[in-house]
Subunit: 121 residues, 2 copies
């Protein structure tokens, strides 16, 4: 996928099933624009140097923060500020569009789980 | 709106009617995340120093490029590369989520139309 092609996000999400695997669909300046499926609970982590952009496309996503949960449905977005610990989870399955700088590990500063490789659809 | 609040994009779009006016709903690092209504044709322009992120939330958007048109429906996105001339239009009305660096005029290098002020919902 190059930046000069349009991306149908639902079609991109239909090409894989693995949860918590970021699939890059486009690039915006120095950022990767990616989709992921959230099923179950991820891992608590933070990104010291970058905000973390979440937009729910389908399903319901809970972004757990130390101060409380943010509950997102389709068409709802949230930006986790840099340095803020968070742990995404979905009781069923949620489809999410995310934006982070290229090279940012999806697990941030966590040592509990290996970072997923950056894969491009 | 601060970055620590969630944003319901449809609700944000329901609060205004003016076409081609960017309304900032969140910030992601040095970028503004904003929504806009496209009705009719905007103006040909380019942004020399930044890509331009478009995600259609509702309706149909045509991003005219000098090489041809990109047609986007709901859930479809496109990144206009930096320096590439483009002119968004919608025959009916399209609701769009956009991302650009803070301070980027929505009219880019165009002199045909005044840039809209950055307004925050």
């Amino acid at each position: 996928v190059t930046v000069t092609e349009k991306v149908d996000l639902a079609a991109a999400l239909a090409t894989f099933d693995e949860p918590f695997q970021p699939w890059i669909v486009a690039r915006y300046n120095d950022n990767k624009v990616f989709v992921a499926k959230v099923r179950g609970e991820f891992v608590w982590h933070s990104h010291e140097d970058t905000d973390d952009f979440f937009l729910v496309l389908d399903g319901r996503l809970t972004i757990q923060l130390r101060d409380g949960d943010v509950e997102l449905g389709p068409g709802e977005m949230f930006v986790v500020p840099a340095g803020v610990e968070h742990c995404p989870k979905a009781d069923d399955e949620a489809h999410v569009l995310l934006i982070e700088p290229i090279g940012t590990p999806n697990t941030g500063d966590s040592t509990e789980r290996d970072a997923a490789p950056e894969r491009e659809l």
